[in-house]
Symmetry: C2
Amino acid sequence: MSKIKESSTNFANKQALMEECSEVYAANIIGGQWALVICSWLLNGKLRFGELKKLLPTITERMLTLQLRKLEENKIVKRTVYAEVPPRVDYELTEIGYDLGPVIKLLEKWGEKHKSL
Amino acid sequence: MSKIKESSTNFANKQALMEECSEVYAANIIGGQWALVICSWLLNGKLRFGELKKLLPTITERMLTLQLRKLEENKIVKRTVYAEVPPRVDYELTEIGYDLGPVIKLLEKWGEKHKSL
DNA sequence: TAGGGTACTATAAAAAATGTAAGTAATGTC
DNA sequence: GACATTACTTACATTTTTTATAGTACCCTA
């Protein structure tokens, strides 16, 4: 996370690949240590920051924030802030976020099969 | 690529997630800058090292080697060496490698849709 | 004997991702 | 007035991934 260096070869390679291959594009969006698990949980409905934190006991707050921000930028989750004190924020999948359901399920199935090799 | 530090928190987190979530497990296997594209190409049939290199003009030989090795370790591709000079090696998907077809296709479809937002 | 082709390997460095630790703001409760 | 609550932010350190560059071995051809 942090900023990407637009001058790096890595950046250029990624860009090129993402343009040509939608799978790579998709993989880049849902890539990242925690993104998939977060989406998995959110498939069951909206959750608060703190609830996610509890579900992912080993994630740091920084990482959770970063991943949620990235998902938000990519329009996979919608962030709702309630003007309360203490603060309350919840996260919910967008339509295309929910569309990840089948993708995740298929990945999961493939993973299961692979594990059993 | 290179060795993973088994003492790092990162390693512990990955392990735990992969055990619990097969999607994450799968994502880790096909993750990495080039793995998915390589698999995509191989879905059409076996290819030689040099052919892959030509198909991925910007990949470095080192990266291609690393990714192929990782895929091989994970039993996604099969490596065949012919005792010739100059050397000839080809790479072909295994059965479970070919099973990635639908996964990739679904990812691709989702990516397309997401792009058009 | 020099050069070409093939599939690599070694080493270093740059870039990106992840983790650690501490702090912030606003309000209600003790 | 001290403290708890919640969802963060910031600065910094470490780990992991990716790129850069230069070799290697082998035989064949010119």
